[in-house]
């Protein structure tokens, strides 16, 4: 077999990887000399090739490889074999933290010791450590095998959900949800077979760490008898003259509020009504009406109905109740507090019937070879397959494709149909890394690193086992019925330097072609934006409040977050301060529902807007907030076939398309009446603030004073 040598002495990781990919096409064996602990060696290499590395490697050796056999003569840094899908990595020396984290397949062998958190969030494959392994081996492990011949340090198998950890030595202590067993003889034989393959010593017996429960974070109700909710928020009324007694209303009601008494529907449990209007929508004769009841207060303590019912609910279930959609909170400042002012004769308005309005925008032109060219400055926000149904994903992709705007996979992997219909598809890279592989990232037009989400900032995600059906389990690489956990932070992004390394790693995998997006929940906006920009992001997405989600504790969504309106101004200012405003694109989302909202956000400094929840309204969403439990009566946030059938994909796609076409036209109207022929020319001067508060938050001139409120304060 012909072998070829690469001397990496004076190469950057980028040059080395390009050379490696070139050589892998022609040779079967490649020897790398002088690796000098470089990071990202062989990142995303897809080839059937042997790679021998004569020395030590830095972070992310063999990340996301598919096929190669890598032998490292020296030590490896952190995250060896991160997210790999196929192939083999043998480390002759020691390895740092995170060996085989997020793995989907293949084998990693460490002949020395391994650091902490080996096999974290691993979905499948084999990790073998001949020496000792550090803390929390198998953290959040979701499948596959770990074999450690030496000892395991503390918290072994912390939060293990699936898969098995075989140990030749002894664990110091077990983590949450981990349980120690004696391995069965046939298992011992299987493990020894694997060890034989790699010339490692065999053993007569093994201990094995297995999960106590498949659903460690699921909190079952406490078993205390349910308390009735007392104060209704909605009132259901029937017009019995029109009712034909068909019973559809009772059948579609997700909360079982309506009961048929003979042929007659009655609202038997009115206080449970969540206002989804399914009964109204599906009644063939318009015999049902639902009204919102004015929020009533209880007698003395000034508790309103929502919180009163909430406490009663928590008293039954014993943990904080979860809701979908987002906050009811009315106290976040609204973009409605700003208004556009027209051009008249000081500057003429542009005629919207006849004259042009350019809507195209290019995002991510900083480092990426292929920036995103959007026909209109709109990105559809990330909603995962899992939180929403397949039908919704396809309808959104179709609409986005027809309009030339960006769709987003969300964190649950990519549907083939999505890629087929969306002309611009952003692939999301979130903390659970579900469905992530080199080919997944390469098939996207941009990669979005999700750090946070506006509706539940600082919280991880959880797709409950009920929603993990066969389709979802295949896509995410986890067993049916297990909870799909996305930790609150990426295990390998804990600080700014980690983000920088992550961006470089993803660039190596996507060959520096596509833009890298960093998505934040608005918080310490200026600091975070500066960090992402300095770390090398092409596009920064800020998700403010109010905004939507599939599931979040009610109390969190009501009491956390940062206003979209203030966030966009801060992000824009932060980028200017570090001199990167022209290089880094800024996209802002959170509560944007109409072209007016979007035009205002553009005028305040964004390059594009992100909309997510509002795009569900054309499919039928009524913002009722029952997205978390799989009972969505419109087939949107559910995986149940009988509910999903209620969506006509083609019609839904057409309606979303119509809505967004109107949306773009709306944005144009504001630009044109303000005297601009391009959407991107909207600026702060085109706005006036109606309230002191909005002026303080944004620096927009206060109406009637013609000065920003902050200047008035200075006097």
């Amino acid at each position: 077999m012909e072998a070829v040598r690469i001397d990496a002495q004076n190469m950057t990781p980028k040059e080395l990887n390009r050379e490696l990919k070139e050589k892998a096409k022609r040779y079967k064996k490649i020897i790398i000399l002088n690796p000098n602990a470089k990071h990202y060696i062989a990142a995303g290499l897809v080839a059937d090739v042997e790679v021998e590395i004569e020395g030590s490697a830095g972070y992310f050796l063999g990340t996301m490889i598919h096929g190669p056999k890598i032998t490292l003569k020296g030590n490896a840094g952190w995250y060896v074999g991160d997210n790999m899908t196929m192939g083999e990595i043998v480390v002759k020396g020691h390895a740092g933290n995170g060996v085989g984290q997020y793995m989907y397949g293949g084998t990693v062998v460490v002949e020395g010791d391994a650091g902490d958190r080996s096999a974290a969030l691993m979905k499948n494959g084999i990790v073998i450590v001949k020496g000792d392994a550090g803390l929390m081996t198998g953290l959040y492990m979701m499948g596959g095998k770990v074999i450690v011949l030496g000892d395991l340090n503390e918290y072994a198998g912390e939060m293990i959900i699936n898969g098995r950890i075989y140990i030749g030595g002894a664990p110091k202590s077990l983590g949450k949800n981990a349980k120690l067993e004696e391995a069965k003889p046939e298992e011992v034989e299987e493990v020894n077979k694997i060890l034989r393959k790699y010339g490692l010593p065999e053993k007569d017996s093994f201990y094995v760490i297995v999960p106590k429960s498949l659903r460690p974070v699921y909190k079952p109700p406490s078993g205390t008898p349910a308390m009735k909710k007392l104060l209704p928020k909605f009132k259901t009324e029937f017009t019995y003259e029109l009712c034909i007694g068909c019973g559809v209303c009772a059948q579609v009601c997700p909360e079982k509020v309506i009961k048929m008494v003979g042929n007659k529907p009655v609202a038997a449990r009115q206080a449970d009504c969540i206002g989804c209007y399914a009964c109204v929508n599906y009644c063939p004769t318009d015999a049902v009406k639902v009204f919102r009841v004015a929020e009533s207060k209880t007698n003395r303590a000034n508790i309103d109905a929502s919180i009163y019912n909430y406490i009663r609910q928590m008293a039954s279930v014993g943990h904080p109740p979860v809701v979908g959609m987002g906050a009811e909170n009315k106290y976040f400042p609204s973009l409605d507090q700003l208004t556009f002012i027209p051009g008249q004769t000081s500057r003429p308005p542009i005629d919207s019937y006849r004259e042009p309005c350019d809507t195209e925008v290019i995002l991510g032109h900083r480092f990426a070879e292929k920036p995103l060219k959007l026909k209109a400055p709109i990105m559809i926000g990330a909603m995962s397959f899992g939180s929403v149904s397949k039908e919704v994903k396809i309808a959104l992709a179709k609409a986005a494709g027809r309009l030339g705007i960006a769709a987003n996979t969300g964190e649950g992997g990519m549907l083939p149909e999505e890629r087929k219909y969306a002309s611009i598809l952003i692939v999301q890279y979130a903390s659970g890394r579900f469905g992530v592989s080199a080919s997944y990232l390469r098939s996207g037009d941009a990669v979005e690193i999700k750090i946070g989400q506006g509706a539940k900032p600082g919280m991880g995600g959880l797709l409950l086992g009920e929603k993990v059906t066969e389709d979802i389990s295949k896509m995410r690489g986890i067993p049916i019925g297990t909870d799909a956990i996305s930790p609150a932070r990426h295990l390998d992004i804990v600080g700014p330097e980690d983000l920088k390394m992550k961006i470089e790693q993803l660039r190596e995998i996507t060959d520096w072609k596509v833009p890298i997006i960093v998505k934040y929940a608005a918080g310490r906006v200026a600091d975070d934006v500066k960090i992402a920009a300095k770390a090398g992001a092409d596009i920064i997405v800020i998700d403010g409040k109010p905004s939507g989600t599939g599931a979040t504790p009610y109390i969190v969504t009501e009491h956390t977050g940062y206003s979209t309106m203030a966030a966009v101004v801060e992000a824009h200012k932060a980028l200017k301060e570090i001199g990167l405003r022209d290089k880094v694109s800024l996209v802002v989302g959170g509560g944007i529902k109409t072209g007016a909202d979007a035009a205002k956000v553009l005028a305040l400094g964004a390059d594009a807007v992100m909309i997510a929840s509002a795009t569900l309204v054309p499919i039928g969403c009524t913002y009722c907030g029952t997205c978390h439990n799989g009972r969505c009566p419109y087939g949107i946030a559910t995986q149940k076939p009988e509910l999903r059938r209620r969506i006509n994909v083609e019609l839904a796609a057409k309606r979303i398309e119509n809505y967004l076409r109107g949306f773009i036209e709306e944005m144009c109207m504001f630009a044109q009446l303000a005297g601009k022929s391009k959407l991107s020319n909207l600026e702060k001067e085109d706005l006036r603030a109606l309230t002191f508060e909005a002026s303080m938050l944004t620096g927009v001139k206060l109406m009637g004073v013609e000065k920003p409120a902050s200047e008035l304060m200075e006097r």
Partner: protein
């Protein structure tokens, strides 16, 4: 934020500067905003070496200080951030109080102050800082260094690390992380009379450790207390004439690896930096919440 490195030799006159320079160069990818080192045992006299940051007319400022204090010599250099650096050698007989009074009187910005140590720090890459200070030529016993990726505070020479507060000359810290209960802890320390110069969370760690040392804790104990009391992600090295202490937060959110070979102790954020000094030695990961102290 950042990459950190520390080294200690058993003999004085060892190439601390050169080794720190190499280590920081290999950690450069972890932060490019600013860089710096503190090196002990590199000064031959017991005089104060004080470096001020002056926006303009450095000679005027020098004249004012010379009038009040026993200044042996002074020198003016240009920093990478555009300001001037006024470097003064002030007689070792001058008390800390006298120095502090002058600093307050003229509202001077102090880049560094030390009797036993030399701090070199500025914005820019390691090489940019080396150009201004030539710290790689310094020989001594031990030192620590830092490359910074700024998170929540300003980018200028004053905010570069090693961070020092002029209440406690010759104690410095390099810190990778944030203290998320900063204001709570600061209030408690202020009640005990500590005066904070900045809002930088690294300064809090110095005050915290000094506070414990003054109460009679040993450095190891003080570090253990710090791990208990300080929240958030952090890994830091704290250096003083008596040695170097280090700690990692209890969740192990920031990296710190160490190694020792024939009396040379090395610590850094990444193994690659250790390999610059000790190519073959065994690497030890500091465990979450673990602390370590080296004394020459």
């Amino acid at each position: 934020m950042c990459g950190i490195a520390g080294i200690m030799f058993t003999e004085s006159g060892s190439p601390v500067g050169q080794k720190l320079y190499e280590m920081l160069k290999s950690l450069q990818h972890r932060g490019m905003d600013s860089a710096g080192t503190i090196i002990y045992g590199a000064k031959s006299t017991k005089d104060w070496l004080v470096r001020f940051v002056v926006e303009d007319e450095p000679e005027e400022v020098a004249k004012k200080i010379r009038y009040r204090l026993n200044v042996m010599k002074h020198d003016i250099k240009k920093l990478n951030d555009g300001n001037f650096m006024l470097e003064m050698v002030i007689s070792g007989d001058t008390s800390t109080e006298e120095l502090k009074n002058i600093i307050r009187k003229y509202s001077l910005s102090v880049l560094s102050i030390g009797k036993y140590s030399i701090i070199s720090k500025d914005v820019g890459l390691v090489d940019d800082v080396e150009k201004v200070f030539n710290f790689s030529k310094l020989k001594g016993t031990h030192g620590i260094g830092h490359v910074r990726f700024s998170t929540e505070s300003a980018v200028d020479a004053l905010h570069a690390h090693p961070f020092q507060t002029f209440d406690f000359p010759d104690i410095a810290i390099v810190h990778n992380g944030q203290i998320t209960n900063y204001w709570k802890r600061r209030e408690l320390l202020e009640l005990e009379g500590h005066v904070f110069q900045t809002d930088n969370d690294s300064e809090l760690i110095i005050h915290y450790i000094v506070n414990k040392l003054r109460k009679g804790y040993k450095l190891e104990e003080a570090l253990h207390e710090a791990v208990k009391d300080l929240d958030g992600p952090f890994a830091f090295l704290i250096s003083m004439p008596e040695g170097i202490g280090m700690a990692r937060d209890r969740l192990g959110l920031r990296p710190l690896v160490t190694s020792e070979y024939e009396g040379v102790f090395v610590a850094a954020s990444e193994e690659v930096a250790i390999r610059k000094v000790l190519p073959e030695s065994k690497i030890t990961y500091l465990r979450p919440g673990e602390v370590e102290v080296w004394r020459p």
